[in-house]
């Protein structure tokens, strides 16, 4: 089976720092190669893969600002489409633009919808709904006007996250500093439990940081800035719990899966994909407000078995599991 994986080209695949879509294209490609599948990764020229790399754009347009994003994107996509005959199936991780070439090539295409940047892009997905197979990254992220082949959860490289049996006594907030992610709510939860809180992430909303985060910083609430891969593993693993009091319908929570892989339970507001990620009272707590979060930490957190958290995460959110799920879909499509 010959698969063409189309990655985005905002960043290298895998990304050096940020780039969740590129990360998933990489995680999938590497696992498929391990499983003996012939994969050609269409990505930036500086990308790294054990499969074959096909690139017409040297560097991601977010990393080399001399590149025109629109020019790079259409050359990148057309390069794959013009070679469609060499593959059995095209797996699109890019976004909506490749869909508009799909009726012109005679090969099946599967499209993972990593997110809707705006409701304005939905017409493209609607037009090509009969001509490609959509995969959602959680059931909660499905758009009511589209038909989907399946949900396949994001899969992480579990080897990058060590199991920690005996954590330290701090709570962790890990994510963008933004109202959506509930940094202020995390601070309130921590203060009410009397536990220390570490905050790691990029400041995406400067005003929110200055008004809702900075005034509380001190001995019991610390801000660490953005965390690289090694720091991330340590911070997530040693936390007593990850606080994830989100204020939006999050399509998937990578840090939630990563925390559980370290054995760390997650206390999340019950929105978006959270009930698909967390088993309530077993790998964390799905709560409806700050009070319930405080109660869960005080009363129930000590009863959580960290080994069960890790087992759950590895079973459901590993790159291996993701690749198996996609491989089953490839067979399903090709045997039709």
């Amino acid at each position: 089976m010959k698969i063409a994986v189309l990655a985005p080209i905002a960043w290298r695949t895998p990304p050096r720092h940020y780039g969740p879509w590129e990360q998933m294209a990489s995680n999938l490609t590497e696992e498929l190669v391990k499983a003996g599948i012939e994969v050609t990764l269409f990505a930036t020229g500086d990308s790294v893969t054990a499969g074959s790399l096909d690139a017409v754009i040297a560097q991601g347009y977010e990393e080399d600002k001399s590149v025109d994003a629109k020019v790079a994107e259409c050359l990148h996509i057309s390069n794959l489409m013009e070679k469609a005959a060499e593959f059995d199936l095209i797996h699109n991780h890019f976004d909506f633009l490749p869909l508009t070439y799909s009726k012109l090539v005679d090969k099946p295409m599967i499209t993972t919808i990593h997110g809707f940047s705006s409701e304005k892009i939905v017409p493209v997905y609607k037009k090509y709904n009969r001509n490609t197979h959509y995969v959602s990254i959680s059931n909660s992220d499905r758009h009511s006007e589209l038909d989907y082949l399946a949900t396949v959860y994001n899969g992480i490289v579990t080897a990058e996250f060590d199991f920690v049996a005996q954590p330290e006594d701090y709570l962790l907030f890990f994510g963008r500093i933004h109202p959506d992610k509930g940094t202020a709510e995390a601070i309130e939860i921590a203060l009410k439990t009397g536990k220390r809180l570490l905050i790691a992430g990029i400041i995406q909303d400067e005003r929110y940081y200055l008004e809702r985060v900075e005034p509380f910083l001190g001995k019991s609430v610390e801000f660490l800035g953005a965390a690289g891969p090694e720091e991330r593993n340590e911070l997530l693993g040693k936390a007593a719990a990850l606080l994830h009091p989100i204020n939006f319908e999050e399509p998937f929570g990578l840090s939630v899966a990563e925390a559980m892989t370290c054995g760390t339970p997650v206390i999340a507001f019950n929105k978006g994909s959270m009930p698909e990620l967390i088993i309530d009272k077993k790998t964390g707590f799905l709560v409806k407000d700050i009070e319930q979060a405080v109660q869960a930490i005080k009363m129930l957190l000590p009863g959580i078995n960290r080994k069960k958290c890790r087992e759950h995460a590895i079973a459901k959110f590993s790159a291996k599991k993701m690749a198996e799920d996609y491989l089953a879909l490839y067979h399903q499509i090709l045997n039709k």
Copy 2:
């Protein structure tokens, strides 16, 4: 012969005000229809044509800001590409994005390169040089790294421009208020000749206007703002001469062709496409600086025959001539 004309969708075709690429797509389509050719115009839904209109986007993205330009563009282009089998030939007036679909459809494509917004888009043209036929809008606008099938000059609807045998005694600047267009140079030329100058156009460079234009306004230099079609006809026709002292390699000068159609000679700096538009000393003057322009107005302007200006413009820059030239190219491509 069945032709698909792909217009841009920034504006309606033809445009209500600004929109030179849409204007040329319209002028060509209407003349081809008059010549008995079956033309389908792919343009915005509010476009007006005597041919068939095929539209998937209701309004131009510059006129309806709720439209996402990238979404509109790819749905618009793919709509044509998916119907390629219905046509003998595709004529692309859009820009570079349609090129990247061209290897996936089995029909010849001709692309009028109306301009290069940036050197960054040239790689797309280079990649598809063997797969489409490029037409330049002047010999001077040709890119050294591309091969062209022909030059076809822009063609205007000559019926919109009346011949004026006896002009008034003013000089005219007609174009964007911008250093490229030489508004300041036009003022200097007019002041040195002692003739009245009328200035019409949109202010594209506010600071340039305030520093280099506004201080000179008064009885002998007047600024009229942007001019609509009727005002344009009157202003161009009644002028003793159009001043066009450009500071850039202009690919084509629509106002130059329009002025000559009214019988009005043009005094232009000898750059870009100007020697292709103006017959020196017959339909105007190609000069190298302000002094030469002043001398030409004082000494030579009275000797210009306005009828010859109009004859030249109608012979070379009418929509009818443009359509004839393109039709010859269509036959050449299809009979290969």
